[in-house]
């Protein structure tokens, strides 16, 4: 392990839960969404939006993770992810073992949290406690913070269209 095993994580809330994704995967955050819904798409696609001339497909993360509707808080924050080619062209993200997809995708979340440093050693790979609400495939690991658990998302699985939502 190199000393730089600490990485920055972008955190956000879905209902009462705190989630995190590596900040190197994040392109930008947009509020005041002007979403256009699209007919016939899978239920976890919230719609599309115009980000300065680029069309971003917005994934309703709560639906994707099969959260109950009533657990959801305020809407309207979107974390726009870097595309896989943006990652490849960026030397700082070469060390990442996570990948996004080629399309421009945003994640619809309830509330944006802080950016937290996470030490690789503190990540618990297989959480013992069974949280039935969340499919294990979507979780890379959890980090025990002083007051709550930070759930690190397995983005490749979340973005994979092959993965069925049960």
């Amino acid at each position: 392990m190199t000393p730089s095993s600490q990485q920055q994580y972008m955190t956000f809330y879905l209902g009462g839960d705190l989630f995190g994704i590596n900040i190197l995967l994040v392109r930008e955050i947009i509020q005041n969404l002007d979403l256009t819904t699209v007919a016939k798409v899978p239920p976890y696609i919230a719609g599309v939006l115009n980000l300065r001339g680029q069309v971003v497909t917005v994934v309703d993360l709560a639906r994707r993770l099969s959260f109950d509707e009533n657990e959801r808080g305020g809407l309207g924050n979107c974390i726009v992810l870097k595309t896989s080619s943006e990652l490849e062209n960026n030397p700082t993200s070469v060390s990442l073992n996570e990948r996004t997809i080629a399309d421009k995708v945003g994640l619809l979340v309830d509330r944006i949290g802080d950016v937290l440093p996470v030490d690789a050693k503190s990540i618990i790979q297989t959480p013992n406690q069974s949280d039935n609400r969340l499919d294990k495939r979507y979780v890379r690991g959890v980090v025990r913070l002083s007051d709550q658990l930070l759930i690190l998302l397995n983005l490749s699985e979340v973005l994979n269209t092959e993965t069925r939502v049960e």
């Binding site: 256009t36 699209v38 007919a39 016939k40 115009n50 001339g53 080629a102 269209t161």
Partner: protein, 1019 residues
């Protein structure tokens, strides 16, 4: 030092040279060859020679050097190009291409043959056939050259040229470390610099200064360049190249002249003429005073006239060459840079739109704002257009190579083919041009291989020996139309049908149903190739379907037209650019969608006379003579209108119908609103949206909102609209209707035969309705015939055979109803098509009867006569339609006829009753089973598509019963469906066939009873 990047540039540049050279070499053979073309070749090979020599690619340099020598002679009029020379030059160009693709390994390519062949054209190698004036000349004596010149390959032409213009000749020496590396330059930079100052002659690396490995690291490697230049003094050279004077050496003109004296290279019969000629060549690239230009020109033409070959050119295409582009007017830009420029320009347009909208409200408040906005508006539009243009590429880039392909193929196949190319300057988006290369190559090869006949064959047919292939491109209504037309043997639709059946690509009945024009499209079916035998030229069976897929992938269409013995025309329609397309913006349930204009034929407003009708459960619109199947966009996308929004069910009443064209099929897409017609920038779909299947892209509208682009095909598929290949609309409506049908109601076509009598015919028995003129009808003997799709169709006037009113006179405009699937179809003449209705027929067989009349019924309170086409046709042509000899023992057989359709039950029943002892008709499988268990039958004839239990299920049930497992069972169907045949086999039906063809049905029954002994099943 010579790194990969530089080699990359070398490869790219050399390829461009080769591309420019090839058409000129080809042109040398034809009349259209001129001195500028020859010069292009010369310069091209010269440049390749120079740069390859610089990189040390010996083989490339050697071959191009010989080519250069040959071209110099051609240019100077000492050699006349002939087809042999052209072939060798082409072969050499190929070798160059091969080596340039992988220059590092060029030494592995054998070029001896080419070099030898090229040398045979050079006078020196001709031995005994030396030109006369050479004879008296003294043997060339060796001139003592300065040491610095010894290792260079001297080029007499360039040197002579330089001498004539008073240019100086220099040798410069560059130290790789000191001059190149430390100054952050590349040797190639120097090379380019030299080319800009004058003419590069040769270069070499001096490895002799390195004595060993250790030395190699410390010694600065020296590269020497020999070049001619307009620069007047060594000082200028030192300052231009930023090297010490010691590294520059001027070669005395005297030395060069002396050398030239013994190595003339350019052997001119008369010095003066050669000078003039050189002057002319120089004209295009160098400084030449305008004064005195005209007389030169005149002399030039005189000179050209002295050799036949050039003379032709001088008169035929003097102007065409004038617009040759200068290479240095362009710069090289990375395509990805253009892509992002285009994206930025797109964003700018959107921001401009937003700005305009916001500024609208403040125009009065801020002085001058309005005019600034106006300006920004114009500049942005202009800029966007220009950026789009940067991506446009002329088709000439790919058209150029076809001359060569045709030439090679013609030689290989022993044919004589002329390729005419038009519209090379038509421009398309770069990505489209690139993607077109393969499909076009395939089509051109096909023309030469299959289309054009051998010269002998052509002469026999009274055609000129030379076949012509025309490749044209032109703008047609916002699209580019590319056509490949040959005057070859054409395609025989009948042959195509047979072949398709043989190969199992099509079913016989499907093939039979196709019109000749449709049959031509068989070649686009996967797994079909017309090649009698597979050749290495074309025809591996993966051709035309791939062509079609590729073209359609680009948003284009392919069409084909051919006439046997006359030729074939294949047309490709392509969008100008993939990124921007004209579209109609429509609304449904508060959402906006873009529909590509390419697919849009017309728009019809519903309401008033334009009311959708229901035919067997599917809605159709009567549009002039055809029925248009309708799809409501809101239904397909499962949209429901919110408060205050228009859309959904109400659109059936007052929406808009977009008449969309899809591979010669049409359907109507119903939307609520028409909003705008604009050019939209197509953005790709994300993977999530792609899998929906009904969108083809996404776009950003002027107000910054996102709108989906509707996928015309996807919507149709989603609505389960199955277009039987090129079937007319009535059929597709019916197919849909058939799938949906659940009741006993039938669709009837109401028509008149002059007078007030209304006639009805079951719509599913009609294959087509043709609108004709009375004058189209041909009279042969007593019969009337109509030419239809290459065949003669016999016509019948109902009043000639049926007990109905005879018209006083027939109008000029007539309709012909062509019945489906008859061995020998007869068209029924009608004067007016009244309507189609969906109704439950209450057939009255008593009141009105007679030949051709099935009975009467009331539809919408009007009396309608149902036409029995079988008895009508029997009366028209008894020989074909009356079964003459059927076995007597049929009279003893009992038949169970199962059909839910009263019309068929009556017609088929009538017919069967004349053959068999007894025919019992029932409506469905349940009734049939009841009858079967109560009574005994010899044969069951059943519709396969019964309401509830299908005919197949009934058959399976029969087969499973101990009592009836051997009972002959015949399935009938009103429509063609490949699944039916499979099911028929699976359920062990004795036979399965189309309804309506009773002659076939009879033969079928006979053949079944030939195999099976008819016996009464025992209870």
């Amino acid at each position: 030092m010579v790194d990969n990047e530089l080699i990359g540039i070398f490869i790219q540049e050399s390829k461009e040279h080769l591309e420019a050279i090839e058409p000129e070499i080809l042109a040398m053979e034809s009349a259209s060859h001129d001195s500028e073309g020859v010069n292009t070749i010369f310069r091209g090979v010269h440049s390749i020679k120079g740069s390859s020599g610089f990189f040390g690619f010996e083989q490339i340099s050697k071959l191009s050097h010989v080519m250069e020598n040959l071209m110099a002679l051609v240019r100077d009029g000492q050699l006349s190009p002939n087809s042999e020379m052209v072939s060798v030059l082409l072969a050499s160009t190929d070798k160059l291409k091969l080596m340039i693709d992988d220059p590092q390994h060029c030494a592995e390519v054998a070029i001896e043959d080419e070099v030898k062949q090229l040398n045979t054209f050079l006078p020196a190698a001709k031995g005994g056939t030396k030109p006369a004036q050479d004879k008296g000349e003294p043997a060339p004596k060796q001139v003592k050259l300065p040491d610095s010149l010894k290792r260079f390959r001297l080029d007499p032409y360039i040197l002579k040229n330089a001498m004539q213009h008073g240019h100086l000749v220099f040798v410069i020496r560059l130290f790789m470390n000191k001059d190149v590396k430390e100054k952050g330059r590349t040797p190639y930079d120097y090379f380019k610099e030299i080319e800009s100052l004058g003419e590069f002659v040769d270069a070499y690396f001096d490895f002799s200064s390195i004595s060993g490995l250790d030395d190699a690291l410390s010694t600065d490697l020296v590269c020497s360049f020999l070049f001619t230049t307009v620069m007047g003094s060594p000082d200028m050279i030192t300052s231009v190249f930023d090297i010490p004077a010691a590294q520059v050496e001027e070669i005395e003109a005297g030395v060069i002249k002396e050398w030239l004296g013994t190595n003339p290279g350019v052997q001119t019969p008369e010095g003066r003429e050669a000078e003039v000629f050189l002057e002319v060549v120089e004209d295009d690239s160098g400084p030449a005073s305008d004064a005195g230009h005209e007389p030169d020109k005149a002399e030039d033409e005189d000179h050209l006239a002295s050799t036949d070959h050039l003379a032709v050119k001088a008169s035929s295409a003097p102007a065409a060459r004038m617009k040759v582009k200068r290479a240095d007017e362009t710069i090289r830009v990375n395509v990805s840079l253009l892509d992002s420029l285009m994206n930025l320009a797109g964003e700018m347009v959107l921001s401009r739109n937003q700005l305009i909208r916001i500024a609208e409200n403040h125009g009065q408040e801020i002085a001058g704002l309005q005019s600034i906005i106006q300006n920004i508006n114009l500049v942005t539009s202009d800029m966007h257009e220009k950026v789009m243009q940067t991506r446009l590429q002329a088709l000439g880039i790919i058209f150029g190579k076809f001359t060569r392909i045709i030439r090679d193929l013609a030689m290989k196949l022993g044919k004589e083919i002329i390729l005419d190319i038009e519209g090379e300057d038509v421009e398309l988006d770069k990505s489209i041009v690139e993607a077109l290369s393969d499909p076009l190559t395939h089509l051109i090869r096909n023309c030469a291989d299959h289309g054009i006949e051998t010269p002998e064959e052509r002469e026999r047919m009274g055609k000129p020996r030379e076949g012509r292939v025309r490749l044209t491109a032109k703008h047609v209504g916002g699209q580019v139309l590319i056509e490949i037309i040959d005057d070859g043997r054409g395609m025989n639709p009948e042959k195509l049908r047979q072949k398709a059946i043989e190969k199992g690509v099509l079913k016989p009945e499907e093939a039979a149903k196709m019109s000749d024009r449709q049959a031509l499209t068989i070649i686009f079916l996967p797994g079909f190739s017309t090649a009698e035998k597979v050749s290495d030229v074309s025809g591996r069976g993966v051709g035309m379907d791939v062509v079609r897929t590729n073209i359609e992938g680009l948003g284009g269409f392919v069409d084909i037209d051919s006439e046997v013995g006359v030729g074939t025309r294949i047309s490709l329609r392509l969008p100008l650019t993939l990124a921007i397309i004209p579209a109609m913006i429509v609304g449904s349930c508060g959402r906006r969608f873009a529909v590509p204009q390419v697919n849009l034929e017309e728009v019809v407003r519903l309401g008033g006379k334009n009311k959708p009708e229901i035919i067997r459960g599917s809605r159709v619109l009567r549009l002039r003579d055809s029925l248009l199947t309708l799809i409501n966009l809101a239904d397909v996308l499962e949209l429901t209108p919110q408060e205050g929004e228009r859309g959904g069910a109400s659109d059936w009443e007052d929406g808009y119908v977009l008449v969309l064209n899809l591979d010669n099929n049409q359907y109507g897409l119903i939307v609520s609103e028409l909003l705008d017609s604009e050019e939209i920038a197509v953005k790709p779909l994300s993977v999530y949206l792609k899998q929906v299947g009904c969108y083809s892209g996404v776009t950003i509208m002027g107000d910054g909102k996102v709108a989906m682009i509707v996928d015309i095909q996807g919507i149709a598929t989603m609505a389960r609209l199955k277009f039987a290949e090129n079937e007319i609309n009535e059929q597709s409506a019916l197919d849909l209707a058939n799938q949906l049908r659940s009741s006993d109601s039938e669709s009837l076509l109401l028509f008149r035969n002059e007078g007030l009598e209304l006639f009805a015919i079951n719509l599913s028995t009609v294959a087509r309705i043709e609108r004709i003129k009375a004058s189209d009808i041909e009279h042969i003997g007593k019969g009337e015939y109509l030419k239809l799709g290459g065949r003669s169709l016999r016509l019948v006037r109902m009043h000639d055979h049926m007990p109905i009113a005879k018209p006083e006179q027939t109008p000029e405009d007539l309709y012909v109803l062509v019945p489906k699937l008859l061995t020998k179809p007869i068209g029924i003449v009608a004067t007016q098509i009244v309507d189609t209705v969906q109704t439950v027929v209450d057939l009255d067989r008593e009141t009105i009867s007679g030949v051709g009349i099935l009975g009467s019924t009331f539809i919408n309170d009007a009396l309608v006569l149902l036409v029995d086409i079988y008895s009508l046709f029997e009366s028209v042509d008894p020989e074909v339609f009356r079964p003459v000899a059927y076995p007597e023992h049929f009279k003893n057989l009992r038949v169970l006829l199962v059909d839910n359709n009263v019309f068929f039950r009556t017609v088929e029943g009538d017919f069967l009753r004349r053959l068999f002892g007894e025919v019992v008709g029932v409506r469905n499988a349940a009734q049939a089973w009841e009858k079967l268990s109560e009574e005994n039958f010899h044969v069951v004839i059943s519709d396969v598509e019964l309401p509830g239990t299908s005919g197949f299920d009934l058959c399976a049930k029969v087969r499973h019963s101990e009592r009836y497992k051997h009972l002959p069972f015949i399935g009938l169907s009103a429509r063609q469906d490949p699944n039916h045949e499979v099911l028929a086999k699976e359920t062990l039906m004795d036979a399965y066939q189309m309804k309506f063809d009773k002659v076939k049905l009879l033969r079928l029954i006979e053949s079944i009873f030939d195999r099976k002994t008819p016996r009464l099943t025992q209870s």
